[in-house]
């Protein structure tokens, strides 16, 4: 599981995740996700290259999203693959954290 960040215009922090968000993969990124969640005001989490997600992976998304939300910030999940998105939907996370597949729409949701 790899993790990279990029600062975009408009004060947006983009996190790019790559790999399997299973128990092992989630443990590998949790600390860095929580650091980002503790500092970002507008957070875009790019899930395009996440091939698997389980409940521990969902937790790795929800905890930083909650931290951002508590400070009045916004979070968007970007471009999950089909089964990853089905997992987000099965957990009702899609009703709480918006999912966008178009970058322009993702950036607009954070404006």
């Amino acid at each position: 599981m790899t993790f990279a960040t990029e600062e975009l215009d408009g004060g947006i922090t983009k996190v790019v995740l790559n790999g399997r968000m299973d128990i092992e993969g989630s443990a590998a990124i949790d600390l860095r996700m929580n650091v980002v969640g503790g500092t970002a005001q507008k957070l875009l989490i790019d899930l395009h290259d996440v091939s698997f997600i389980g409940s521990m992976g969902l937790r790795s998304l929800v905890l930083p999203a909650q931290a951002v939300s508590r400070r009045g910030g916004k979070v968007v999940l970007f471009a999950p693959a089909k089964m990853v998105e089905e997992t987000l939907q099965a957990s009702n996370i899609h009703t709480i954290i918006p999912i966008r597949h178009d970058m322009g729409e993702a950036l607009a949701a954070l404006a």
Binding site: D22, E24, G54, L58, A65, Q66, T87, A90, I96, I97
Partner: protein, 150 residues
């Protein structure tokens, strides 16, 4: 008639584990080998991996209270129309039950670690439980699409 000898190149249908979360990293590669041999579609493979991760982590964390070194076995039984996975342990009785739908949630009321059983019942075609004399058996079934003709 005696059972034929197993093909030595065939992936074993049973995976023996011990009760630690680190052991669960052995499951996905095993499923990957089975998927290649049994022509399991990617979406079905995802569902199998997801359900086994949720069920096995429940066994480790709740069944065995995170105590390492206890027995867990996963057996795959393929048939023409379904894939059956049986997970056996020697933990105290624990029957997975489909959780009730949660009330409408907000980001700040969502319990971040509460999704495991919901995912299990959503992605498995069937979930059955059998209490054993010395443990538990949970049986997961996944529909198997017809194989394309050669």
């Amino acid at each position: 008639m005696a059972n034929p000898l197993p093909n030595p190149r065939e992936t074993p249908r049973t995976l023996d584990l011990t009760s630690s979360l680190g052991e669960l990293s052995r499951v996905a590669p095993w499923i990957g080998r089975l998927a290649a041999e049994l022509e399991i579609p990617d979406d079905t493979r995802f569902a199998i991996e997801l359900c086994l991760e949720e069920l096995l982590s429940n066994v480790v964390r709740h069944g065995y209270a995170s105590e390492a070194g206890h027995f867990i076995a996963v057996r795959c039984s393929p048939s023409a129309d379904k894939l059956t996975f049986a997970v056996e342990d020697h933990a105290p009785p624990f029957q997975p039950v489909r959780p009730a739908d949660p009330p409408p949630e907000t980001l700040n009321t969502l319990a971040p670690g509460s999704q495991g059983l919901r995912l299990l019942f959503r992605f498995a075609g069937a979930v059955r439980y059998e209490r054993l004399a010395d443990g538990n058996r949970v049986i997961l079934e996944f529909a198997r699409p017809p194989r394309s003709a050669a």
